[in-house]
Assembly symmetry: C2
DNA sequence: GCAGTAATGCACTCGAGAGTGCAGGAGAGC
DNA sequence: GCTCTCCTGCACTCTCGAGTGCATTACTGC
């Protein structure tokens, strides 16, 4: 939604500046990034940035809000995919697929750097951190919660709290990498992400499946499965 | 291990400065904290800080390394508790207890602010972020992995990868709060932490229990438990 | 083409905070 | 008590980056 009649020069500058600002801020952080760097990267005069955005804070806000909006659109499309798997014939496989899809989209690409930046600046721009949380991650959680609530109603899954179930799903499939990503700028390998996602999805299904009794693990040594989990102390 | 013969005045100053620096850095972050603030908080001349630590970077390193060492000692003691529950009579309850203990110790108290600070400064001080990860969280993970490996060998738990199992446990019981804590400076309530930890521990046990068949959830509506998870499409 | 508006370049101010120099005071060790 | 070392206070320098003023240039809409 462009303003009334905007000078195309301004439109062009705005685009150049926001792209450059995203790159610079994501790489250096708010404090270490300088407006001169953004100007140079954008191929634009510093004065132009100040003409359009007023000051560095506003430039940052505009940049981040744009990134969040992108992540938001993306979450929305993922929510659709999530909803779709409620109809899947093979639920186990569908869950595994959505797990991989979700993990890859969060852990590979620009989301992790954005998260680092927002966390770093959550003191200075708490409203941006909140904005991010209310959109990207929450949107996904809501979609997952809706899915699990639906599946539970139809007797395909345990009927625990859908919200909690969604959290368990999300953190089982990518919790470790998500956490590591806050400290380590090197992104995880796609291979690792997929493996973790699939393993997490399996654990999730063991925890939340209904009516299936987990078969004893064939790799477990000796010990003819104790009847209950308690009273295992070898007296 | 104090150096050879240290002037007691220096020892005293050092202690005052590190305490003050921890407080100031944790509250403001590295860049927004000023050496003058640290000096004033410590009740010490700015010049003394420079005499002892040379520059702001070194002051920060010393401060953080001390915090990490504290967290480290703490992790070690927690590792002992973790190991102890391998002998527990009621495994389910022991796991739930250790879950609450672990979650509280990480989410309530100084760990979350430290994590935020380290994440914020991971670009400037990658070695500190790495140091932290190699000590505090990894120590706990190793302890958990040892525990689960042990339990698996004794046939009390699924024999999946102990390391992966440990991650699943940790992120089931506190993943959501851990993540939120990176963006939101308000600590979670103890009540919430305990509830999440217990719920996570339950899910974990459903996923990793051996030999127990999950009873159908009494709150689940209708639907006489489908025989398998797949082929659930009402068609 | 012409008028108006935006972008440019560049020199500039300003404030803040890191780090220093130094002279004098005070406690530690003997 | 004497000496030596550390701490103190304070004024100082330096650097760096945010933000401004302004005259000039270039593009846009008509």
């Amino acid at each position: 939604m462009p303003h009334e009649h905007e000078d195309p020069r301004t439109v062009r500058s705005r685009a150049l500046i926001l792209d450059a600002a995203a790159a610079v801020f994501l790489e250096r952080g708010f404090v270490d990034a300088t407006v001169d760097q953004v100007a140079e990267t954008a191929g634009v005069a510093k004065r132009t940035i100040y003409n359009i955005y007023g000051d560095k804070d506003e430039l940052f806000r505009a940049t981040i809000l744009r990134s969040i909006a992108t992540a938001d659109r993306f979450s929305a499309s993922l929510a659709v995919e999530v909803a779709a798997i409620a109809e899947a014939r093979d639920l186990a496989q569908a869950l595994s697929q959505i797990a991989v899809r979700l993990a890859e989209s969060v852990l590979i690409g620009p989301v992790l750097p954005l998260r680092r930046l927002l966390a770093s600046e959550s003191r200075r721009f708490p409203e941006l951190a909140a904005e991010y949380r209310d959109h990207a991650p929450e949107a996904v959680m809501r979609a997952l919660a809706r899915l699990f609530g639906d599946l539970a109603e139809r007797g395909l899954l345990r009927a625990a709290s859908p919200r909690l179930t969604a959290e368990h799903f999300a953190f089982l499939i990518m919790g470790a990498d998500l956490d590591r990503g806050m400290f380590d700028p090197a992104p995880p390998t796609r291979r690792r992400v997929r493996a973790s996602a699939r393993a997490g999805a399996e654990a999730f299904q063991r925890a939340y499946a209904l009516g299936t009794c987990p078969e004893p693990d064939p790799t477990a040594p000796e010990s003819g499965r104790p009847r209950t989990g308690s009273r295992a102390h070898p007296g």
